[in-house]
């Protein structure tokens, strides 16, 4: 298990290096001169030249990349050209808002999705199974930004049950502000996870070891809860791990709709202002988040499935 963990994180590091390099080159390919945008049309050539030198934009691209990696190793992602604050500080100030929103979305949608899927699989082709299927499919078909807008209109504007914008203060205030955004992000996941768990549960229930458990008189509830579900939920971890990219992109829309702080809003704002260091920093952190979540998903799988552990 220890060797597997080390290997998995080494792979994660490698993926991160490739991703950062690709990102660095891509952002340089976006049209628009960052210096003119940052300084405005009336900047003096001297000022421009000094900023170019400060951002090392006069260096060849490979050298810029090396400089960037050098900073990265020291935990330095550069300086925000507008405010002069460190990018690390800016990003990590915004990150918790996004993380708490995503975490809450995943937790509620996975819990509900697993329960729905397991229940449907335990009672296949019953009325409840059919209703669950219909509900799941319509949930899957609802994109986060649509749900976000509708939820905003219905629950915040019309009914005024929950606040419409911002992130709130204090634990309960923040939680109250999280309800609608995480509902919007999680809703399609409920359907997705329910379908996934139902399918994998039905497959597991058809396996020989379940027949063994039944042949030894173990109760159906126990068979479902501790014999089948443990295997059937394994794909859920992988799907959520890989789905982190999707979750982050839903977070961008949702943060805009609810005017919440967070890295989604940060990245949009900094792209429109060509604020390279902040864009790079944000993208780097989200990529790191994605790589980390897939690694955690794999490790959880290995932890819960001894077969996967010894296969690698």
């Amino acid at each position: 298990m220890f060797i597997y963990t080390v290997k998995r994180f080494a792979l994660a590091g490698l993926i991160l290096i490739v991703a950062v390099t690709a990102m660095f080159l891509m952002i340089r390919a976006v049209p628009g001169d960052p210096v003119s945008i940052m300084l405005g049309p009336r900047a003096t050539p001297e000022l421009k030249a000094s900023l170019i030198a400060q951002m090392a934009l006069d260096q060849p691209i490979w050298k810029q990349l090396l400089i960037y990696y050098g900073g990265l190793l020291r935990g330095d992602l550069g300086i925000d050209v507008f405010s002069g604050r460190s990018v690390v500080e800016i990003v990590f100030q915004q990150l918790p808002y996004t993380l708490e929103m995503i975490t809450l979305s995943v937790v509620w949608s996975a819990t509900l999705g697993i329960a729905l899927g397991a229940y449907a699989a335990a009672n296949p082709n019953t009325m409840i199974d059919r209703i669950a299927a219909a509900v799941s499919v319509s949930f899957v078909a609802a994109p986060a930004f649509v749900v976000a807008l509708l939820a905003l209109l219905i629950f915040a504007v019309q009914l005024q049950w929950f606040p419409a914008i911002g992130a709130g203060e204090g634990f309960w205030g923040r939680l109250n502000h999280l309800v609608l955004p995480s509902f919007a992000i999680g809703l399609s996941w409920v359907g997705y996870i329910a379908r996934l768990v139902r399918a994998s549960m039905l497959e597991v229930l058809g396996e020989g070891h379940i027949r063994t458990a039944r042949a030894f008189g173990i109760s159906e509830r126990r068979i479902i809860m501790s014999y089948a579900l443990r295997i059937a939920i394994l794909p859920v971890f992988t799907v959520i791990g890989v789905g982190m990219g999707f979750l982050l992109s839903s977070a961008v829309f949702t943060e805009i709709v609810f005017a919440r702080p967070g890295i989604g809003k940060l990245v949009i704002d900094s792209i429109t202002t060509r604020n390279y260091p902040v864009v790079m920093g944000t993208v780097l952190v989200s990529t790191g988040l994605f790589v980390l979540s897939t690694a955690i998903a794999d490790l959880l799988n290995a932890l819960l499935d001894p077969r996967a552990r010894s296969a690698k």
């Binding site: 020989g208 070891h209 039944r214 042949a215 008189g217 173990i218 499935d305 001894p306 077969r307």
Partner: protein, 326 residues
């Protein structure tokens, strides 16, 4: 009567399918006495598995019990509630399945699974683990305490089948059903497992219903044999009787085709020509008629399972001819 453990009486079971009812079992009758080892032989698809799942009532949802009874200790199993059935499973009746690679839960330790099946016992977990270790030792697994902490994939196929036997015998059942327990194993292992099973059986004195298509194993292990063909019993009786004086042409051909019985070197192994009839669309008369070399006009009617002598039954018109001649 008190010595009869399991009685199967005119049992007929269908599977409802889109092609119509598949008559998986027709008019099956035989019994198993206490402490007796009964073998069931027959080729794939003859209804052996349906028979086992009917005894345990672990049947597919499309299964329909059309007629007959399965009596265990005098009570009809088919009318029991699911709750009553669950109390029988794994305590009075237990089973060893065919494929040891599929028998155990892959994500739980062997110890956990061996403890879980003792769910009726009031013992503490440590006591249950002790019992589990003793059972593993009894089936010949070295270092059982350590191996309880391992997962199924860390055991070989033979080891897993030993564990399955340990699980099945843990509750000291009255009836052990062994569904081709050695088919998935290689020959040397097969002998070891059979020997072990035989020893444990004489220790615990449980009855065994042993399903196999390996005649050698049946001859070695069983007291009596039931020969099944296409969902029906064609012959049943004492092991020696059946092997030395088979009364049904199918049994005869089956014995001829067993590689263990072929004395001379042949270029082509003997087979029974033809195919098992379609169970959804049964032909008239004797089910073996199309493949039988000795078929006559009488075979257009279904022969009943007749008692030929004490403990020897066969369903074939040929035996009636002999009777008429003598």
């Amino acid at each position: 009567m008190s010595d009869t453990l399991l009685e199967i009486d005119n049992l007929s079971v269908d599977y409802e399918t889109e092609r119509g009812d598949l008559k998986a079992l027709r008019d099956i009758s035989f019994d198993v006495q206490k402490g007796e080892i009964v073998g069931i032989v027959g080729e794939s698809g003859c209804g052996k598995s349906t028979l086992i799942s009917s005894i345990l009532r672990l049947t597919a949802p499309n299964t329909r019990f059309r007629q007959g009874e399965v009596r265990f200790k005098g009570d009809d199993i088919l009318t029991k509630t699911e709750r009553q059935m669950r109390d029988l499973r794994g305590s009075d009746i237990s089973i060893v399945f065919q494929d040891p690679m599929q028998t155990h839960n892959p994500v739980l330790t062997i110890g956990r699974q061996l403890v879980d099946i003792q769910h009726r016992s009031k013992a503490t977990k440590a006591q249950k683990l002790d019992i589990a270790a003793k059972m593993l030792a009894a089936v010949g697994i070295p270092d059982p305490q350590a191996r309880l902490k391992q997962h199924p994939h860390e055991f070989s196929g033979g080891m897993r089948q030993r564990i399955a036997i340990a699980m099945a015998l843990m509750s000291e059942p009255d009836l052990l059903i062994a569904d081709e327990p050695t088919t998935a194993l290689d020959a040397t292992l097969e002998v070891q497992i059979i020997e072990r099973l035989k020893d444990l059986q004489s220790e615990m004195n449980c009855a065994i219903l042993f399903i196999s298509h390996h005649l050698g194993v049946i001859a070695e292990l069983c007291d009596r044999v039931v020969v099944m063909y296409a969902g029906a019993v064609v012959e049943s009786g004492d092991v020696r009787e059946i092997f030395h004086d088979p009364k049904h042409p199918y049994t005869r051909r089956l014995i001829e085709c067993d590689p263990g019985h072929i004395k001379t070197r042949a270029r082509i192994l003997p087979t029974i020509p033809g195919e098992v009839p379609d169970l959804a669309n049964l032909p008239d008369g004797c089910i073996f008629r199309d493949r039988c070399e000795q078929a006559t006009d009488r075979c257009h009617q279904v022969p009943a399972l007749e008692k030929l002598k004490e403990g020897h039954f066969a369903a074939c018109w040929l035996n009636h001819h002999e009777e008429a001649a003598t």
